[in-house]
């Protein structure tokens, strides 16, 4: 398929359709409103259904229903709206249902700002709902990657029976880049034999969320964590950027990683041996990347559009919190290349 120039928010909508999603339930919020706007006109053209819900709370519970009914289903929102969806995400997770949630993050907390941010890392990666659970969290750094990850998110969700969050930000949602759509369905996605379809002549399907006996509830949790073990083993994804000889490694994802990439160009030109581990999955966090490079990396330079929410994960992954330094902007601001270069030089000193 030839490349087309598309705005991020519309491209992720098209990506969902390409991946076979025919149901969207959502609520307008800046800076992601083009997702529901796009899908409100495009889904009906392919026999799909768009519902503008009365709230994010309702939207995620519509997703719960549609997922239980066996459909590929999407919702999207931005930070405060995703905060509202947390209850439903927990229910979907507990019921082992597949669903895809896009978060075009903006600055927070609370109503915050409408400019891009990455301060929902904890909400997505650490679980913003109650109980022991994980979301798979994918972090695209371009419109093309957002498209690819939305498509992949549906496969991962179906593969493991879990919600998958595509954690982008307002900048990726709002900018235009050339994209192409090449969805190839993964092998081995199980059939949805559990879906609510009316029992017909067969056994009835009963999707539960309350497991009132503590032993049963604990066993239920352990079943989820067996699935998480498989996800940890199979789904870690990251990009090594100029890591072969790197003595200093940025750790950055999404929009912040774009700035870092440019900064690395300037630093390399000055002779610094610096590269980047760019997590593409935030959960599972790419431990294997750190295992691979930890021996040669002196410091990890964590750059985020938050107050450092990823830092504990980097420290854990490299097994030395003293190796981790942080530079971030928050509240809707994006770090500049100059400030990232200056930050890196301060850390590296003259160590080339």
């Amino acid at each position: 398929m030839a490349k087309v120039l598309m705005k991020g928010n519309e491209a992720v909508g098209k990506a969902a359709i390409e991946a076979g999603c025919r149901y969207f339930f959502g609520y307008p919020i800046t800076p992601q409103s083009e997702v529901p706007e796009y899908l409100s006109s495009e889904l009906p053209k392919v026999g799909g259904t768009f519902v503008q819900a009365e709230s994010e709370v309702a939207a995620i519970n519509m997703v719960y229903g549609a997922a239980a009914a066996g459909a590929r289903v999407l919702t999207s929102s931005s930070s405060p709206g995703v905060a509202l969806k947390q209850e439903g995400i927990g229910y979907i997770s507990n019921a082992s249902l597949p669903a895809v949630i896009i978060n075009m993050m903006r600055g927070g907390p609370g109503l915050g700002t409408i400019q891009p941010g990455q301060a929902d890392y904890n909400m997505a990666v650490k679980g913003g709902s109650n109980g022991d659970y994980h979301n798979v969290v994918l972090a695209p750094a371009s419109v093309q990657e957002a498209v690819d990850m939305v498509m992949e998110a549906f496969d991962i969700a179906d593969m493991y029976g879990t919600p998958v969050i595509v954690l982008a930000d307002g900048l990726i949602g709002q900018m235009m880049e050339p994209v192409e759509f090449n969805y190839v369905r993964r092998e081995g996605i199980p059939e949805k034999t559990w879906a609510l379809t009316g029992k017909g002549k067969g056994e009835r399907h009963n999707i539960k969320n309350l497991v009132i006996d503590p032993d049963d509830c604990e066993a239920w949790n352990h079943e989820h964590f067996e699935v998480y073990e498989r996800i940890l083993a199979n789904e870690e994804a990251w990009e090594d950027y100029l890591m072969e000889d790197a003595e200093y490694a940025f750790v950055s994802y999404g929009t912040a990683s774009r700035v870092v990439r440019t900064a690395i160009g300037y630093l390399r030109a000055e002779g610094y041996k610096v590269g980047m581990i760019r997590p593409k999955t935030l959960w599972p966090f790419p431990q294997k990347a750190f295992d691979k490079w930890n021996g040669q990396v002196k410091k990890y330079l964590d750059v985020e559009m938050s107050m450092g929410q990823m830092v504990p994960d980097v420290a854990y992954a490299c097994n030395d919190k003293n190796k981790v330094v942080f530079h971030g902007r928050t509240g809707g601001n994006v770090p500049t290349v100059d400030e990232v270069v200056a930050f890196a030089k301060e850390i590296m000193g003259g160590d080339k």
Binding site: Y23, F25, T49, V51, A53, E54, S55, V57, A58, A59, N61, M62, V63, Y64, G65, A66, A67, A68, A69, G70, A71, V73, E87, G88, Y91, A95, L196, T197, G198, K199, G200, K201, R204, H205, N206, I207, K208, N209, L210
Partner: protein, 250 residues
Amino acid sequence: MAVVFEKTKALTDAKLHYCPGCAHGIVHRLVAEVLEEMGEVENTIACVPVGCAVFANNYFNFDAIQCAHGRAPATATGIKRVHPDKVVMTYQGDGDLASIGTCEIVHAAARGEKITTIFINNGIYGMTGGQMAPTTLPGMKATTAKAGRDPKINGNPLRVSEMLATLTGPAYIERVSVSTPAQVTAAKKAIRKAFEIQKQGLGFTFIEVVSSCPTNWGLTPVKAMEFVREKMIPYYPLGVFKDITAEEGK
């Protein structure tokens, strides 16, 4: 010798966990009997609430899902949009529907979602142990209104059927009760009409059942049914609040 009444096969063999005399069991049976008589048991998906009826999915012998508190109408919306040919219902209590889930029920009704909601109004929180509900009557005692509900402090109860009847989306709204055999018969007829209208695709259908909670009301089951007739029904009058099939006939 002929059997004139036996348990419907649209209920499972599971023993109901409800307290003695709780009318949930009566309404479960009516829903199940109607679906069996309509031949829709194999075609139905139930969305059950948080509240005493959270285990209704163990009793209905058809597909079911346990929903988040108050969100059953949203979850039912998701299911119905995926399976427009199935019968989709929600079964909700007054805390679930008329307090935490007010937003979801109003908008499902406003959208005219082609689902059927069975709303059990017994004026109290049962599962959590007798706290004030949005439908607790003025003066009625609750563990969070120990001297009785004082409208000056706690506000006044919601009349949900009347509220929803102001909307365009609903096709059928009726309030029934199950405190006498005659009321049970009438309630079954209403539930059947609601499901039939859903099958016809005419819009949102809503049956409110004025019910009892002997345990949390502190009454015997028989006295609780008297309370339904003497106190609840005067505040929550029985009747049809919306029926577009009758309007069309005019």
